[in-house]
């Protein structure tokens, strides 16, 4: 193995040497500054593609941003009198989201400024009803061209969409304490023997939508668990058969945005998936039919004969961060009453519910606190919520 490593190192360095003579002729993208004769009379606008995919492209100048019906937005300008390097920055006033596009050309068009799905360049998502400022900067010019206060009428919904062969299921955006019955986690479970436990949505800190889920408390009884939130009937994901069956456990990702504060030690978020392995259900249709009945739940008996899978995320960073965990990293729950009695085989099609829990871990007994937001599951790869 070491010999292979040495061979790899030597061959790559030799290859590098050979490549010197045929390397790139410049570093980075084109950089062309405006000359003194540049015509500063620039028109600049934001547009949406209004036609459906496959049809002849139709566009309109947009007074509002709407990525709900149209995946594609883009910017346009008049033809400049010379080729220049430019950067367009879209900044959300409320969300803190920023998206950047740059290029070198004598005109800004669909081809060089396409904005897909309203994605941002940083961790924050653009929000519905917020105002966005578009700024066009041209290298060598003091002038910034601004389209200010364009409102976001609708944002893209990622739920049940497929992009680049990756399927998305939004579990909960944590925008309400009472999400719809068929999606979202509405049941809150505090540890009643702990102190000051709160599990509630809040508008104070969020990365997507109008709010996030705030989890806090002191693990007074030293059992490590402080509180959590879960699907109420523990069957909700089967009602819409949201997760396909047969997905490789390395290709199924549980994604959640978590806000960290490194000064609050021992904060850990635990994600748990529930599988329904009741052998009376022979097909997926049977599982769906059972889940569709509003009075049905994943009973204690079913849980004790099914698998529960757990993953713990120690929150040791500062600020918002998306954590993406493949199903293969989940470990089996060890409480026979809550999902340790299954076949210990991860079966994506049998995942019927999710819970998110706040733990005092690695050390129990601590005062812990964090925010979580926009939980999703992706099938076929990690999510691509952000501009590259």
């Amino acid at each position: 193995m070491k010999l292979n490593r040495i061979k790899t190192i030597l061959s790559s360095v030799i290859l590098g040497g050979l490549m010197v003579s045929c390397g790139p002729d410049k570093v980075g993208p084109d950089l062309k500054g405006a000359s003194s004769s540049f015509n500063k009379n620039v028109s600049f606008s934001f547009n949406h593609v209004t036609s459906d995919p496959g049809e002849d492209v139709e566009t309109e100048t947009a007074e509002k941003i709407n990525f709900s019906n149209n995946d594609e937005g883009f910017f346009t300008s008049n033809k400049f009198n010379e080729e220049v390097s430019w950067t367009i920055t879209a900044s959300g006033y409320g969300s803190g989201a920023v998206a950047q596009f740059s290029g070198t050309s004598d005109k800004i068009t669909y081809d060089n400024s396409l904005w897909l799905y309203g994605r941002s360049s940083n961790v924050f998502f653009f929000q519905k009803k917020e105002f966005v400022k578009f700024e066009l900067d041209i290298v060598g010019l003091d002038t910034t061209y601004i389209i200010d206060s364009v409102s976001v009428s609708k944002v893209r919904s990622w739920h049940k969409k497929e992009v680049n062969n990756i399927g998305y299921v939004v579990i909960d955006a944590f925008d309400s304490d009472a999400p719809s019955a068929t999606s979202g986690m509405s049941a809150t479970g505090p540890d009643h023997n702990d102190q000051d436990v709160m599990v509630s949505v809040t508008e104070l800190n969020k990365v997507e939508g109008v709010s996030s889920l705030y989890l806090t408390g002191t693990d007074l009884n030293n059992n490590g668990w402080v509180g959590g939130r879960n699907h109420e009937r523990l069957l909700e994901l089967h009602e819409g058969l949201l997760i396909d069956s047969g997905i490789d456990e390395d290709e199924l990702f549980f994604n959640i945005f978590i806000h960290g504060d490194s000064e609050i030690g021992n904060t850990t978020i635990e994600i748990k998936s529930y599988e329904n392995e009741d052998t009376t259900f022979k097909t997926r249709a049977d599982l769906k039919a059972y889940a569709a009945e509003e009075t049905n739940t994943l009973t204690s008996a079913q849980q004790s004969s099914s698998d529960g899978w757990i993953y713990d995320i120690i929150v040791n960073w500062d600020g918002w961060k998306m954590v993406s965990v493949p199903y293969s990293k989940f470990r089996a729950a060890n409480d026979p009453k809550t999902g340790a009695g299954g076949d210990r085989i991860k079966e994506s099609g049998k995942i019927c519910a999710i819970s998110v829990n706040l733990l005092s871990y690695p050390t129990s007994g601590s005062e812990v606190s964090t925010y979580v937001d926009f939980m999703s599951i992706t099938m076929g790869g990690r999510p691509q919520f952000k501009l590259k």
């Binding site: 790899t8 190192i9 030597l10 790559s12 360095v13 030799i14 290859l15 590098g16 040497g17 490549m19 010197v20 390397g23 790139p24 002729d25 410049k26 570093v27 980075g28 993208p29 084109d30 950089l31 062309k32 500054g33 000359s35 390097s85 950067t87 950047q100 740059s102 290298v139 060598g140 390395d250 995320i313 120690i314 040791n316 954590v323 993406s324 965990v325 493949p326 293969s328 990293k329 790869g381 990690r382 691509q384 590259k388």
Partner: protein, 565 residues
């Protein structure tokens, strides 16, 4: 360990001889104690009406580093530095921190010198090297003593990096002043979170062959790589291999030295989140020729280096100074973060870095545009001429260096930047000239840099740094000290923004016209060679000429007692 010196010499002279010596267990202590108090105030037109901005504070700390040295026998020894640190203003031990600052074990087994724990690593300027900051080289003692505090706190020792791992060294004496030496190390620079971040290891070494007492050949290799885990968000791998040749010869009237180093790097980074991989390779070469006139005490040098635009060597390109870090002293001015001034470069502990960065760290082009990442700065071809006095002259020291460089590949187009740096200065030991035992020194230095590029994105940036200092021993072991620094920068430049693959993905242009005048006066008492007390007053006055009423003054009364034993 510092491997700037020959590993053959080091291993043969220390390792093999010690291996045969039996010794009884020995235990010794040494360390450092320091007490610092600073009384700071903020003034100037920019904060004249800023009633909500803090304009005065007092801060400082006491610390004591106790180093224990245990030599059980020649096979095993251990060193641990235990630190006690208490911020100024606390009492009865409250908020006092206790920590092991450094810990290592080592020894010699049949000639194999080994070390475990915190180890110092250095190879060559293109493989493993912690480059110095740019300056005139002739600054006042007042400023260099402040800088030494920062470097000590940041674990800087020469051009080494302090890392955690294991190293070993062995040499074979081939007779007739010929020898073969081998040095290898492995360290961990980042630990896994068992999910998205893999362990990152740094491994490398040097094979050195001394043909005779004049000629030495070396082969250096260093790899920084991730230990792959299935759920990792990225997979990083970077390798650097160089070979070097050294020739030193002494004639009747001169010393002749020739050094050359050639090599290449290969970089690979896989972004598992976005399912993309980037890899690239590049080369470097460096030739140095030195000629010392023994009778005149003058050393002349010529050097040439060429470093490819995508040459990647994180352990040689990581910077010890973080230009983007926010200083804690008056961290907020009128509701905004106070940007760094030149004064912070040698007075703020927060702006220093002691870890290896896989991406090229940001830098301020107006402080140093020619070689912000040391000699290994990518995309540079540099010619240099220098002259300096050697150590045989005791009355004065002087040096002059001229460097002309250019990019190899243009950034954003075919036009290339050119760089010109001239620096020089001198230190006169007036006490030696007057043949007194008193310390009377005067120093002056200057560094001028100019960057230019023509074409559609033209660049014209110049900067000037001037140093002046005086030291006078007015009574036995009591010195009066004075120092001045003047920094000025003006023009325009473009910052290259880099993506996660370390590749340039955009540019941000800016104009600059700033100057900063720093003066310091004070006194120092040298109780002994290792114990000093100093008290000085510093004033740093910064002005951004592109902004009205921008003057910002930081005044600081600085008390420092440092004792080593």
């Amino acid at each position: 360990m510092n491997y700037k010196k020959s590993i053959i010499y080091s291993a043969l002279s220390l390792g093999l001889t010690i291996s045969g010596v039996a010794q009884s267990p020995q235990y010794s202590l040494n360390g450092l104690g320091r007490s610092i108090i600073s009384n700071n105030n903020l003034s100037g037109a920019s904060v004249k009406d800023a009633t909500a901005t803090q304009k005065a504070n007092i801060s400082g700390y006491n610390l004591f580093d106790l180093q224990t040295n245990l030599d059980v026998d020649s096979v095993f020894n251990a060193v641990a530095i235990f630190r006690t640190r208490s911020p100024f203003g606390t009492s009865f031990g409250s908020k006092t921190d206790f920590e092991f600052r450094q810990f290592s074990m080592g020894g010699n087994v049949n000639g194999l010198r080994y070390q475990l724990g915190d180890i110092r690593v250095e190879l060559t300027p293109y493989t493993v090297f912690n480059a110095d900051l740019a300056g005139t080289g002739f600054e006042s003692d007042l400023f260099s003593e402040r800088r030494e505090i920062l470097e000590y706190e940041n674990f800087n020792d020469g051009n080494t990096w302090l890392l955690q791992g294991v190293s070993g060294q062995y040499a074979w004496n081939l007779g007739e002043e010929s020898g073969l030496g081998l040095y290898a190390f492995t360290t961990r620079t980042a630990s896994t979170n068992e999910l998205s971040t893999p362990d990152r290891l740094l491994s490398g070494g040097r094979l050195e062959y001394a043909l005779d007492k004049y000629i030495t050949l070396g082969l250096n290799e260093v790899s920084l790589y991730d230990i792959a885990i299935a759920s990792a968000e990225f997979d990083y791998n970077n390798n650097v291999v160089t070979g070097d040749f050294t020739y030193n010869r002494e004639t009747e009237g001169a010393l002749v030295g020739f050094k050359a180093e050639f090599g290449g790097s290969s970089y690979s980074y896989t972004d598992n989140v976005n399912d993309s991989t980037e890899s690239y390779s590049d080369m470097t070469m460096d030739v140095d020729f030195d000629y010392t006139l023994k009778n005149q005490g003058l050393k002349l040098g010529f050097d040439f280096r060429r470093v490819g635009a995508t040459f990647a060597s994180p352990t040689a390109q990581s910077r010890r100074y973080v230009s983007s870090a926010n200083p804690m002293l008056f961290s907020e001015v009128k509701g905004s973060v106070r940007g760094q001034q030149y004064f912070d470069q040698f007075t703020s502990e927060e702006v220093y870095n002691n870890s290896i960065s896989t991406s090229l760290m940001a830098f301020n082009q107006y402080y140093n545009n020619l070689n912000p990442y040391g000699d290994a700065t990518p995309n540079r071809m540099v010619f240099g001429l220098d002259a300096a006095t050697d150590t045989s002259i005791t009355a004065f020291e002087a040096g002059l260096a001229l460097n002309y460089g250019m990019e190899i590949i243009g950034e954003g187009g075919s036009d290339l930047r050119s760089f010109m740096v001239a620096k020089g200065g001198g230190l006169i030991h007036i006490g030696n000239l007057l043949e007194t035992n008193r310390l009377i020194d005067a120093n002056a230095g200057v560094r001028f840099e100019n960057t230019a590029r023509s074409g559609s994105a033209d660049v014209a940036l110049s900067s000037l740094l001037i140093d002046f200092g005086l030291s006078g021993e007015i009574a036995k072991k009591v010195d009066l000290l004075a120092g001045v620094k003047y920094f000025q920068a003006s023009g325009n430049e473009f910052i290259a923004n880099r993506d996660g693959f370390n590749l340039v993905d955009g540019f941000t242009g800016y104009d600059i016209d700033v100057n900063e005048f720093i003066y310091s006066v004070g006194a120092r008492i040298r109780f002994s060679e290792k114990q000093t007390f100093s008290l000085n007053y510093n004033m740093a006055s910064f002005t951004d000429n592109n902004i009205d009423n921008s003057q910002l003054n930081i005044g600081q009364l600085f008390f420092n007692f440092t004792g080593k034993f």
